[in-house]
Assembly symmetry: none
Homo-oligomer: 287 residues x 4
């Protein structure tokens, strides 16, 4: 009888393992970058039916914040349980979520002013092609979205503003959207990139200030990305986000904007994630 009980327990565990319908997360995968001359980590979420079906999926690139790595959205962001639930309830479509590590070596998602650390090049020339080849990802712009929090919100702004031809939707959460003015940037950059000239600063500013990129956006680009911008009323990044809302309204760039109750923390971002998944899905789905 004891053995029988043991069998029951074993079966129960087996059932539990199998019966968890839901997606699969890996948080410590590697790929090689020639541009950055090193291996780079990434995490990935594959939806529940990825193994059993034979179809391609839309993709969301989901960027973490400063001081974190590719495990942030997995561990702190609960990406698996939140995405599983949203898919099961029909709030979003099944999608692949790619979470690259933006923090090894040098911090951040951009090319440095001196061209000695070209993470943005790595993202578009190596990471994106690599995952889109390795996994069954749909490669048309319509099926590609990007989102991120804090520094990753900044990455989201820059990538979608630099490459509106590549993303159907972009969602920034509590984003650091780059410097608001060149003056503000100067002090920081002189420390961060010693020897940077005034000319280089000005050039770098036009490409790495979301506010500046929005103010100079060509008319034919205004509707090419669906924007969702969210920042808590107690967040220290309130000013940049509020000014971006004003700038987008004045330029008549369609965007959803939310200020909810909250600050710069994972509670805020976990609450935001279901809406992000639903928002990007509306584009993947069509209306």
């Amino acid at each position: 009888m004891k053995r029988l009980i043991g069998v029951f327990v074993a079966m129960f565990l087996f059932v539990s393992a199998f019966s968890q319908s839901g997606g699969k997360v890996s948080d410590n995968l590697l790929m090689t970058s020639k541009i950055l001359k090193m291996d780079r980590k990434y995490a990935i979420y594959l939806p529940a039916d990825y193994e059993t079906s034979d179809r391609s999926y839309p993709v969301l690139y989901l960027l973490h914040g400063a001081g974190d790595d590719q495990t942030g959205w997995v561990q702190f962001g609960e990406v698996k349980s939140i995405a599983d639930k949203a898919i099961q309830e029909g709030k979003c479509t099944a999608m692949i979520i790619v979470m690259p590590d933006g923090d090894t070596g040098q911090r951040g998602y951009f090319n440095s002013p001196k061209g000695d650390w070209n993470y943005e090049d790595f993202f578009f020339q190596e990471l994106m092609p690599y995952v889109e080849k390795t996994y069954r990802i749909r490669t048309h712009k319509r099926y590609r979205a990007i989102a991120g929090l804090s520094m990753g919100g900044g990455g989201t702004f820059m990538y979608a503003l630099h490459h509106p031809e590549l993303f159907s939707a972009a969602c920034t959460l509590s984003a650091y959207a780059g410097p608001i003015s060149l003056e503000e940037a100067a002090t920081r950059w002189e420390k961060q990139y010693p020897g940077i000239s005034k000319d280089e600063q000005a050039k770098y500013f036009t490409r790495h200030s979301a506010l500046e990129l929005i103010k100079n956006m060509p008319d034919d680009q205004k509707k090419s990305v669906r924007w969702y911008i969210d920042c808590g009323d107690d967040d220290f990044l309130y000013e940049g986000n509020s000014l971006i809302h004003i700038a987008m309204r004045k330029k008549e760039i369609p965007h959803e904007f939310r200020i909810r109750d909250g600050a710069h923390n994972w509670t805020y971002w976990r609450e935001a994630l279901p809406t992000v998944l639903e928002f990007v899905s509306q584009g993947f789905h069509q209306y």
Copy 2:
């Protein structure tokens, strides 16, 4: 027989509890104003137990928008069913809601620059004393709050900024918060108040721009009013409200700020009202 009387009493209380169909609304009441030299209309919400109890209540002054009158919050705003529900569910405390007509004769809640239409004086010297005498209203600042939408959000800003000693909470919905700059104001005021001098404009601006009043707020006033500010991301009044958020953050004036999905319409304001009632109640209640 005594027991039988006890049964009757118990049953009566039971009946009272059940038979109450919520608060009572009147939307066409009159009072006389010496200041404005006319009769003025107002609407009032008295909570469900007003008739049967003998206590005093906190008061919320609830201001309508331009082009509307004292019936706006009753008919379009569903103040009765929303307040009934919030009180019954314990989301807010029982309170009296006073809705004055801000639109008869001349539009708006303020004194005119020339002093020929002194609605703000009427509000503080006549309306407030009148309703606080006529109804069982608690008259301590702690139990007095103000809220309003659009032009009434402007009234809310000015009244609570001019008289922080009178209101414990102020809630502005989609507020027109007065001119952002003196330049913006000049053109409008020259049409609206013919003959207004540059000096009068400057003086009027310092008293009727919420942004200006916030920037110049004395330190000891910063925590005297609990602020709740809400404006839709599609509202045409996005700029003033966003700049007020930035200004309040920079001055470290505590405030709740929300940007929800929506525009300048009653759907937005009906959705906001339960939160307004809950927010002002937190002050009436104490924490």
Copy 3:
């Protein structure tokens, strides 16, 4: 002890009577018509807070079908429980619902071709003024709507097409919308109104065929009434309603149109009533 039980029972009935929160229905009221030279019956629904509040309400005129009378919507249509529920759940605003008897004397809601039975005149010159004076009804067009089923759907079409200046919304359920063609009308009218000439037929047709009135609607009238038109796929009146949908689309007259699963019966109409109340409320409320 028996007496005590008797008291309990009496109290229970008393409690039950009082504790039913909800509106009040009367279904056998009388008013005198000079135009029709007789007393006419009507039924009325007054919302739950009508007795305790002191405000005015929007009004819905709700017309019964052929062979029925003013009690139809009360008895078969469950107007009280459906309106109570919709108001309590916040799906519609509190409103007064007036249900006139369209069947005493001669059947129908219109003036007869010979002018010897002028029910439509009675409706606009006597009934409407009478109820709007007798009850606390808001008299601006914005707060007046009309709806009806079958023959009452026909009344709804004609009244709102003849008087777009009087109704903000019109809802027709399984409507008999008048003759589709003059030929179709001729045979019927020659029986119904013996001695009617070809000229009189043509004139009567232009005023009593919804299709004809829609095709000839002046441009400036197209958006003056919000339309909701609903007819089951098994209803014998399918053709008129489908042709009206086509005609309204071709004239670009905004309207909601529904074909649901069902036939010409009260199950269909009871299912429709909550949507009708919600639809007319959207206008009473503003968005």
Copy 4:
């Protein structure tokens, strides 16, 4: 020990029941067409127990709209999650869903007038036999249904009207049902098929106008297909669908007809799909 084996078997069944994460979708399969002289793509949905059971299934052919391909119902239509849910909840029976690509080469589901592009022949002579041989599909008419949206609704009309002996049910969503009149068709076809004669137009019209085919339907065919026809009240294809409803009612052809709130978009079609699956299942199941 026998009891232990019994327990294992019971647990295995339990595990199987729980571990199934729904059906399997492939969206990029190929077959060769001699008729069209090219490879053709198709997508397929196999129900959850397809791999583990050894039975045959009913089949639904599900057609996409113009400008789309075989992935449309997979990506935008969410066919997997909707079918999984409907099957799990017992709303429909397990079935195979075949989604052919109707857009490569030349657009549409029909033979061209000149006979140089015979897609309809391909469908019946190659695709249907191929999938019914390749997958465990029941081949009796009772177990075969067809549905489609827009241009695919047109395909559904034509295939089921041309071959009522092959389909037990046909569901058209927002269908383009072919030309309403020969005059309407003429202009279009003269552009689309240069050199088409008046005679060829007339002949093509009798075979490719759903309205015409319905009006000329022989009596003994009226009940051979169960029809479900659905089109939004804001759809630009309102006229053809409404006229088909009228024509079917006049010919006494049994059919379900719905006009729901909505337009020509995927939101409408995703909402329709569960009803389509339930409707065709009622025939697969029998009542």
